[in-house]
């Protein structure tokens, strides 16, 4: 258990400073603190069946179910569904990661962990950044599982290795932006049930009113502009451009990048504000 205590903190627990160094206070070590707190969250997740299920089992179940139920009707419409579906379930898994981060952030605020860390010489943003790092690790795990099942069902990167390498980069950028926003939400709301409700109210409309699972052409014409423009569709466009053989790359990447930058800025501002209040 000692490894869950930041190194800088371990110093303060060791008792009064020896006579020679009286007066020196332990200094926050930013990188160490983030790493130690990330490890703490990963360990908490690994001991929690709900986390494991939402990181591994649910993305897998959704991928298999959507593929199984809608492959035939999609093929009738001329769409190879596994290639279309994989970016969608990757985005969905990132949403599950975001929901997890909102809950864990709220729990840290509720349980007093943040206040406790604030009394110690731990770098200020480290609790939020540690959680972010842990959630990004988690999203990579989900991605690995989804790419494996996708490959088994016939998904291929048709654009060669360089574009394929861009795929996890875009996913991580989306995850970083979304998780930061959701951490802000969790820290600001701080009531577990309200956090669950709020994150679901974001997840369902953004996920289902997007071109992630079905092409925008399937939506009613009055809804189509919203469906095409909203950020989840734009991220899906970017991910699909990276898996396709000869799609234009620059435009979808730039639009998605602009959305993610905007989301990220909102998230960072919100999270730093909410972190200050939650730890006060």
């Amino acid at each position: 258990m000692t490894s869950t205590i930041p190194a800088a903190v371990a110093g303060t627990l060791a008792g009064p400073p020896p006579p020679g160094v009286a007066g020196t206070r332990p200094r926050p070590a930013f990188a160490t603190d983030v790493a130690v707190l990330a490890e703490r969250h990963l360990r908490l997740m690994s001991r929690r069946p709900a986390s494991i299920i939402s990181a591994i089992v649910l993305p897998l179940v959704f991928a298999l179910l959507f593929f199984t139920v809608f492959s035939r009707v999609m093929r009738r419409g001329g769409l190879d569904y596994i290639d279309y579906l994989l970016p969608a379930v990757v985005i969905q898994a990132v949403f599950f990661t975001g929901m997890s981060s909102a809950i864990l952030a709220a729990e840290d605020a509720l349980g007093g962990t943040l206040r406790r860390l604030r009394t110690m010489s731990v770098s200020r943003p480290a609790p939020a950044l540690g959680l972010l790092a842990a959630e990004l690790t988690r999203s990579l795990l989900s991605l690995g599982v989804l790419l494996a099942i996708g490959a088994a069902l016939g998904f291929r990167f048709h654009g060669g290795p360089w574009k394929a390498l861009g795929f996890p980069v875009v996913m991580l950028a989306f995850a970083a932006a979304l998780v930061t926003c959701f951490i802000a939400l969790g820290l600001a709301i701080r009531r577990l049930e309200a956090v669950t409700t709020a994150t679901n109210l974001i997840y369902f409309p953004f996920m289902l009113l997007s071109s992630a699972f079905t092409p925008a052409a399937a939506f009613p014409s009055w809804l189509r502009p919203v469906v095409e423009q909203q950020p989840v569709s734009r991220v899906a466009d970017a991910l699909r451009a990276l898996t396709a053989h000869d799609a234009a790359l620059a435009r979808p990447l730039l639009i998605a990048g602009a959305w993610l930058l905007g989301l990220g800025v909102v998230g960072v501002l919100g999270a730093s504000r909410a972190l200050g209040r939650a730890a006060a």
Binding site: R48, V61, F66, S71, G77, F204, A218
Partner: protein, 266 residues
């Protein structure tokens, strides 16, 4: 010398008392009501606008509502049951049941009371989804008695799902695990059914599963009750599935409850 008469458990009265408690708890924490109403509505609206044209290329959005509404009623009822199951585990951990077991209360009552209280919530789910669905294209064309049957059938099936949730709850370590186990199970039942696409559009290996899946069976019965056609056979099949779930899961859940709450009380 008069002997002290030990009070005897009264299963029916006890169950009603417990159902009253569960209902009061629900009313004081309306979050689950909100979920039970909005979740099926969100699915009905969003799945319809995104998938209708894919599943039935020639038809309108209203036709998809007409066909798929029963599934979203069932999903609304089904995905509320993990919350009840989770609350039951919390009761066990908090010592509520240990306290109840020291008193002459029927061991059926705490569980049956929960499931009964859920029925009230399910009724609201059904009412809201139908009230929203009718202007969007859902039609009752088989007469008033069949329509009443349409509204009641998911309530009966909901009892079975409620006991299924409680059965999982009795074996789970904590309330989070209950939700984490039940959600994937309910998702598989919802998707591998005839609720979203026609059975002939499912892959060959799924078609027999979709045929016997209790969700499909109840959905087909609800469709027959709303739109006409042969109703007797589908309704009997749906009632048989509901009965199997209620009795099977009910007996196993109560047995699990006895062992677990006695161990906690000891």
């Amino acid at each position: 010398m008069s002997q002290v008469a030990l009070p005897r458990p009264a299963p029916v009265g006890d169950t009603l008392a417990m159902a009253g408690r569960a209902l009061r708890l629900m009313l004081r924490d309306p979050a689950t009501f909100v979920l039970a109403v909005f979740f099926p509505l969100i699915l009905l609206l969003l799945i319809t606008v995104s998938f209708a044209k894919i599943v039935y290329p020639g038809a309108g959005y209203d036709d998809y509502v007409d066909v798929s509404l029963p599934l979203f009623v069932l999903m609304g009822i089904a995905f509320a049951s993990p919350f009840t199951a989770a609350a039951t585990v919390t009761d066990l951990r908090d010592g509520f049941d240990a306290r109840i077991r020291t008193m002459p209360v029927s061991a059926l009552a705490p569980l049956a009371g929960r499931v009964l209280a859920d029925t009230a919530r399910s009724a609201i789910t059904i009412a809201v989804v139908v009230v929203v669905g009718v202007p969007l294209g859902f039609r009752f064309t088989a007469g008033p008695w069949a329509a009443i049957g349409f509204l009641l059938l998911p309530l009966v099936f909901g009892l079975g799902l409620g006991f299924l949730g409680l059965l999982v709850a009795m074996r789970a370590r904590d309330s989070e695990t209950v939700v984490a186990v039940l959600n994937p199970l309910l998702l598989v039942c919802s998707f591998l059914s005839t609720g979203m696409v026609q059975r002939s559009d499912l892959p060959g290996w799924v078609q027999p599963i979709a045929r016997v899946n209790p969700f499909s069976v109840v959905i087909e019965a609800m469709r027959a009750l709303a739109h006409g056609g042969a109703t007797t056979r589908p309704v009997i099949e749906a009632l048989v599935w509901s009965g199997v779930l209620i009795v099977g899961c009910g007996v196993l859940a109560v047995r699990g409850y006895r062992t677990r709450s006695d161990r906690l009380a000891a």
